[in-house]
Amino acid sequence: MTANRRAELQRKLAMAPVPKPPAGLADRIKSDIPGELMVDADKERRRLRQAVSFNIRVAASIILLVSSVYLALNLLSRRFGPMEMAAKSDNAAIEHDTATAAAPSYPVTAMAREMPPAPPTLPASAKVDAPKLEKRNAVIVAQARPEPLALRDAETAAESGNASTKEESVTARDRLAAPAAAPMIQSDSMPARQVLDVEIAAAPFDATKYIVRVPLDAQINFDDDAVAAGRPVAPGLYEIIMRPGLRDVIAVVHDGDRTRTIRRSELRTWNDASPRTKAAALEAALAAGVDPELVAAKAKAAGLEGFAAH
């Protein structure tokens, strides 16, 4: 743009025709002047305060709304998350029921013969393969049919012809030292009140077996890829024989709408088991006919002085 052109434009803009205001316009405008022109400072201040408080209320409402939605979503996800898992596990249990009904049942002792004397070193960091859990072929459901522990032990001892069970137990326990350092069983993203009290530890008198303690009313489904056999030995207490391998998921426990998965990384040695589990296991052994002196010695070694004296 040249300076001349710019100047011309400026001139045209500035020299645009300026008409006279129509007659009476000033009077019309003056007649619109309100009767009360006075600006009340207090009124203005009040109006400003009201505007500010309104804005604050709107902001607070938005924050409250967002918080409520977040909380609701959080609660819903917590509520429906475990229920979905329970539903999946229930489906698996139904499949299993069908499978167990069709499959021949064989005694624990026979299975024990087929198994190696002790489980391999247990990887504490073994990962869970959730999809595989759904696809498992069959699940062993423990039946509420207690079997005398002493009889089983006697049979096992007779068949193995090995009197050095205790030494093997010690060796097995040593091998289990690493996983014993695993943290306490925690349910995934569950509040404390919803965590199922579940524990898995080596059996007191046979290191080839494990005991699983669950709540009394809970239902437990063992994964047959990880568990060769299992049976209840007392209410809420099961004895299982593990298969060798790296299968991480051992069992799924259901109690109402709560579900807990027991993993191999949660295995504990007998020494690291909780006093409650130790007492329950020893009581079951006693009820099954194990020598009370042996049980008392074990209880004493476990620090259960009261139990031993009883």
Partner: protein
């Protein structure tokens, strides 16, 4: 340019105190300029008068919010401009840019063809200005049709005077292009 009044502050204080005569004095001093600005914006004498009246109605209502950072006329012009924009944004009340009313010109006895030519040219220029982007349009109209100083526009737009000058420069470029296209 509208020169700031020495007694502007006094008048404002009086109006805020409920002095009707002071309000009337403000009207007397400003309404011609407000009307002229609106006429240049809309190109219609009656409409400009109505918009002027509406501008003052809004001004009385908003007087409590006038903080005195700018001159009173600058503040009034801003209200007038917004009133005009609100008017043309009402779809059915859109001001026609193609068939403007012939303005009532000051009596300087020009030749008939000269009046027609000037009116046409003014109208083309007005149409081109109204087609400018909002910030440029306000700057051009406030400076040339509202008679506001660059510094005052900068104050009301909360930018620097340099920015306003840049806007004017850019606006001239766009206006020239627009007018040239129309001539072709």
């Amino acid at each position: 340019m509208i020169a700031p009044w020495s007694d502007e502050h006094r008048l404002l204080v009086a109006v805020r105190g409920g002095d009707r005569a002071a309000a009337e004095e403000i009207v007397e001093r400003t309404y011609s300029a407000v009307y002229a600005s609106l006429y240049r914006l809309c190109g219609d004498g009656d409409l400009a008068a109505d918009l002027t009246q509406e501008t003052y109605r809004k001004a009385w209502e908003a007087l409590g919010g006038f903080d005195g950072r700018s001159q009173l006329f600058t503040w009034l012009y801003r209200i007038a401009y917004t009133t005009f924009l609100n008017h043309i944004r009402r779809p059915r009340l859109m001001t026609s840019l193609d068939a403007p009313e012939t303005p009532e010109m000051p009596d300087r006895a020009p030749a008939a063809d000269e009046v027609l030519s000037d009116a046409e040219e003014s109208e083309r220029l007005r149409a081109a200005v109204l087609k400018l982007p909002e910030d440029l349009r306000f700057t051009v109209t406030a400076h040339f049709w509202g008679g506001l100083a660059v510094k005052e526009i900068a104050k009301i737009e909360d930018v620097t005077s340099v920015a306003i000058r840049k806007r004017l420069h850019k606006a001239f470029g766009l206006l020239e292009t627009s007018l040239d296209e129309e001539e072709r």
